[in-house]
């Protein structure tokens, strides 16, 4: 199978959907003539033209709201936020309009919109540019949120997100854009709400999403090689809808769980996962569910220290050893 980057996988997904459905339009800052701040949309403007790939002013509230309004009319806008951190200036449009209009209209309206872009720390761009709002979004019934960790997942999930008739918040990671994975040439879709067991073990369940899932895989290798501890690594992929069954299954198998995320700990996604596991696997657990999140402070600039602020394989190994 050919290897392509996470960035290319996203691009191919968008190109395929643009060709497939005339209602799909890409909008965002620098997505067209500049080829995308992170080159995710590179070449798409030249290929599909002004109508399908369109640069916006720096007006997130207005252009996200515009996309929502257009989606009510049947368009399928795929909006790029240069950083998900900038969703803070469009927060009302996302939560109250995309999130609530279907409900408040008694189901008369739906918003087939995708809002995508990177949501990660680790690039030394400072606290305001390093938010990971998947937990805020997942708190809102009416919104969906997806955090792919690999090129394969990114492509399959983005295509599903674009075809989904509900608003899907698609969170990528600038640290992964250049990473390569095997991705088939044939078309495929990955449904939202289906987790992926990326490594199968017996002794402990490492549950994560986004880049943290890759960190967990590295930790699992170390655990196997150096400690003869064999971990299940479950990548949630989709946060809402959530594959709760897969979570409970792996825990029922290993009886131990360590949750890893790059978000801040308080009310992070893993708080929800831990609460669910202890409630539904109470008698299966041989140890408390443990969590590893970013060190609980705004993202620090200093490159050395920000590397330290996010979960590292060694942090996971240490946690696992504390319960195995």
């Amino acid at each position: 199978m050919p290897e392509i980057t996470y960035r290319e996988a996203l691009r191919h997904a968008m190109a395929e959907e643009i060709e497939r459905d005339p209602n799909v339009v890409l909008l965002g800052e620098e997505v067209a003539e500049y080829d995308g701040a992170y080159k995710v949309t590179e070449g798409l403007w030249k290929r599909f033209g002004d109508k399908r790939v369109c640069d916006t002013p720096i007006s997130e509230a207005a252009f996200i709201g515009m996309g929502i309004g257009a989606s009510m009319l049947g368009l399928r806008p795929v909006m790029e936020l240069m950083f998900w951190s900038f969703s803070t200036v469009a927060w009302d449009q996302i939560v109250n309009n995309a999130g609530m209009v279907r409900y408040m209209s008694g189901g008369l309206i739906h918003c087939p919109i995708v809002i995508r872009g990177p949501a990660n720390g680790g690039t030394n761009v400072g606290a305001t540019h390093s938010h990971t709002p998947e937990n805020w979004i997942a708190n809102v019934p009416g919104l969906k949120v997806v955090c792919p960790a690999t090129a394969y997942d990114a492509k399959g999930l983005l295509k599903s997100a674009i075809r989904d008739n509900d608003p899907v918040m698609f969170m990528e990671n600038t640290l992964l854009y250049g990473e390569k994975w095997e991705v088939p040439n044939e078309e495929y879709l990955i449904p939202l709400g289906v987790a992926d067991l990326k490594r199968s073990g017996t002794d402990v369940s490492l549950i994560a999403h986004g880049r943290a899932a890759l960190t967990a895989l590295k930790a699992a290798e170390i655990l196997a090689a150096e400690h003869d501890i064999h971990a299940d690594v479950l990548d949630l992929r989709s946060i809402r809808p959530l594959d709760e069954e897969a979570i409970l299954q792996t825990v029922r198998k290993t009886h131990r769980a360590v949750l890893i995320e790059e978000n801040k700990p308080f009310c992070g996604v893993d708080a929800q996962i831990a609460a669910t596991i202890q409630e539904k696997c109470f008698d299966d657990l041989d140890a408390p569910v443990l969590r590893i999140s970013a060190i609980d402070a705004p993202a620090i600039y200093s490159p050395e220290l920000e590397r330290r602020q996010l979960p590292r394989p060694s942090d996971i190994v240490a946690k696992v050893l504390s319960i195995c």
């Binding site: 339009v25 109508k51 916006t56 002013p57 007006s59 509230a61 207005a62 252009f63 996200i64 709201g65 515009m66 996309g67 929502i68 309004g69 257009a70 989606s71 009510m72 009319l73 049947g74 368009l75 009302d92 449009q93 109250n96 309009n97 209009v101 279907r102 409900y103 408040m104 209209s105 008694g106 189901g107 008369l108 309206i109 739906h110 087939p112 019934p141 009416g142 969906k144 599903s160 075809r163 989904d164 008739n165 509900d166 449904p191 939202l192 709400g193 289906v194 989709s238 809402r240 809808p241 959530l242 594959d243 709760e244 929800q272």
Partner: protein
């Protein structure tokens, strides 16, 4: 504002070309709004509904005049003071009253309430509670129309207080930059809640003039006469249809009741005299009633008949709302996700709701 004495806009083609029956219908629509809201007030006070009730009474000429101009691709979106626009686009009193009563027969199945009426089939996109929040949505309707190659417009209504929400200016810039056929209609009733225009906004000659800085055509006028409203908005609609250009209109109007029914102080932040003066001299229904009798199209007794037929419609809608059932408990988690409601494949993978 000075009353419109004789209406210079009667001769505007869009009004001159009206048939007598059309003119009567305009009056009837304004009466429908007023009588519907008077009834809703009565039943609100009788404890039949919850939340807020923002009455449109006094402003009827704006919504009715504007919506009377809508063609197949002209769309409307507004804020929470939305009953007038809803009835004006042709929504039934039944679904509107039932919504206030929180009944499943309501236009939003009892899920939206007074602030959140919707009727996409009538090009009516709500009913929005967050001040200014509808302005980017209106932009999106215009963008969608243009994208689809349709000749139409998006009429986005907002209040004089809403002009101080930033997303409105972001929207103006994009509308001008991209030539989008959106028409922002500022219904300037002089107050945002208890705050007079002078205490909330700084401006040159008027609020609409702020559009000039974005190279957008704008106008400001007295909206008490429905002919004026129709003539001015028609110009904007034609600009949208022929040039795909936006317009910002500021229409002077007045609300007779408080900001919402909960607004106990509305006779303190404005004087009784002011309210009375508007009722006496600037009432859009009285003014148009007189216009029609001057035109020899309406006698007192014909007006009374009209009013009675409207009152009967109101009575019926109240009875309908009363008699309608509440939404079921199970319905609380319906209409959240399209894919779940329709039990598509996408709606069946993963967990969507998280109680227990």
């Amino acid at each position: 504002m000075d009353p419109v004495t004789t209406c210079e806009f009667a001769s505007a083609p869009i009004n001159a070309n009206l048939q007598p029956a059309d003119k009567i219908r305009l009056l009837r629509e304004m009466l429908r709004v007023r009588r519907f809201e008077q009834a809703s007030l009565k039943h609100y006070q009788a404890g039949k509904m919850g939340g807020f009730l923002h009455l449109y009474i006094g402003q009827e000429s704006v919504a009715v005049g504007a919506c009377s101009l809508m063609g197949p691709n002209d769309h409307v979106i507004t804020a929470y003071r939305d009953h007038g626009h809803a009835l004006a686009v042709g929504m039934s009193m039944n679904e509107c009253m039932a919504e206030l009563f929180g009944k499943v027969t309501g236009c939003s199945k009892g899920k939206g309430g007074s602030m959140h009426y919707f009727a996409p089939d009538k090009n009516y996109w709500g009913g929005h509670g967050i001040v200014g929040g509808q302005t980017p949505l209106g932009l999106g309707l215009a963008y969608g129309l243009k994208y689809k190659g349709l000749t139409g417009s998006a009429l986005c209504f907002m209040g004089d207080g809403a002009v101080n929400q930033g997303c409105f200016y972001e929207s103006l810039n994009m509308a001008a930059l991209w030539n989008l056929p959106v028409i922002y209609i500022i219904e300037n009733n002089g107050y945002s809640m208890g705050t007079s225009l002078a205490r909330s906004s700084a401006y040159a000659s008027c609020l609409a003039e702020r559009a000039a800085g974005f190279g957008i055509d704008w106008d400001s006028f007295n909206g008490e006469h429905i002919y004026a409203v129709r003539a001015k908005i028609q110009t904007a609609i034609e600009r949208a249809h022929t040039l795909s250009r936006p317009t910002v209109l500021e229409i002077a109007t007045y609300r007779y009741y408080g900001h919402s029914v909960a607004d106990a102080k509305h006779k303190i932040y404005r004087s009784e005299e002011e309210i009375e003066r508007y009722k006496q001299l600037h009432d859009p229904i009285q003014i148009f009633k007189n216009q029609l009798s001057e035109e020899g199209l309406l006698t007192e007794s014909q007006y009374d008949e009209l009013d009675e037929s409207v009152l009967r419609e109101v009575e019926e809608c109240v009875a309908f709302a009363e008699a309608s059932p509440l939404p079921s408990e199970a319905s609380i988690t319906e209409d959240v996700y399209y894919e779940v409601d329709h039990q598509t494949a996408a709606g069946r993978t993963g967990r969507h709701f998280f109680n227990d």
